[in-house]
């Protein structure tokens, strides 16, 4: 009997298996990936240096789906367009988000987005320190919104403990994704007008 052919491995194949594992279970391990790919754990290390590098490959894979070039219009339109793209890409794999935020950003391709945001804020007149905080603010809002987009159709169940103000608010709620989309649009308007108000020229 011929030996079974050696299973083909590549960083891309390992990254896809890791994304699948996180989508299903919330995390991945090297032995778990080896089992999923039906290879020995040691074989993985011929292609990746370990867990941290796989996280960066996963980040690069998601970031590669974000169009950072089609920027036209004002700095604030650019920021809103980037945020919208970024949210869409991350909402497909919400369980990756805590892994990404737990690791230092090293993927070169990830800087495509952050470079574009930094350029937009700098063009808008923000100082470097404000630019860093503005990027973090947009980042936090987008990651939270990506989780919200992946939320169940009914995000809050009403009950006797709900007060009148919250009851009235819930009565206006459509189902996801319409509710999440409308909230994201509202939130981006809030963020942009709040950011504009931080600029010296706004006073």
């Amino acid at each position: 009997m011929p030996r079974p052919p050696q299973r083909l491995l590549s960083p891309e194949i390992i990254t896809e298996a890791a994304i699948e594992s996180v989508d299903e279970t919330g995390d991945f391990t090297m032995p778990g990936l080896a089992g999923r790919l039906k290879v020995r754990p040691s074989s993985l290390y011929n292609h990746v240096s370990g867990r941290a590098e796989i996280v960066e490959f996963m980040r690069a894979r998601l970031m590669a789906g974000i169009d950072v070039t089609s920027q036209s219009g004002s700095w604030s339109e650019t920021v809103a367009a980037l945020a919208s793209e970024y949210r869409r890409s991350y909402a497909e794999h919400p369980r990756l988000i805590p892994l990404f935020t737990a690791h230092t950003v090293q993927a070169g391709v990830a800087f495509g987005l952050y470079n574009a945001l930094a350029q937009a804020f700098s063009d808008g007149g923000f100082e470097p320190g404000e630019t860093l905080h503005a990027i973090t603010t947009v980042d936090s809002f987008v990651l939270g919104s990506a989780l919200d987009l992946a939320a169940p159709e009914v995000q809050w169940s009403s009950g006797p403990e709900v007060n009148n103000a919250m009851k009235a608010a819930l009565a206006t709620s459509g189902k996801n994704p319409e509710r999440a989309d409308a909230a994201f649009e509202f939130g981006m308007r809030v963020l942009i007008s709040g950011l504009v108000a931080q600029l010296p020229t706004a006073h």
Copy 2:
């Protein structure tokens, strides 16, 4: 030989074990909890109805640590104080966040926070539909910021692919938690001034 004493179980003990499991691995399973607690899976079902109820117990446990009563001052000060409390509580267990957002909010105690936010926005003059979106906007920003607070000391590694605007921004960055705290303060100022700008009286 006497039989070993029956292991004591309660919803609280099961909830703590589930939080430990998510902190360590990103998720929990009923068989995994049974193994962690050295009981048979069937014993768990004498105390909890299943996975969804455990998620609500975990949410209730974290929400119980949030002080929603000490509200004084304007609606915007109340919102900022609630957001700050909420972020602090969630940052201790960042990997719970995607589990929470993936399940409908049912825990009565969780509505303490949402009721307080709804009351603040209603007091501020927001219509019910805007109140719902404003709550979601604050929620998304806070959850993203809790993940950011749990980020590594160095969130971005600089490299040749970093453009000048991002390089200047990174040069101003302190380490966590100072960087994350400063970004959260900046973001809350942005959100509040952006929310104020949505009110009809602002125009």
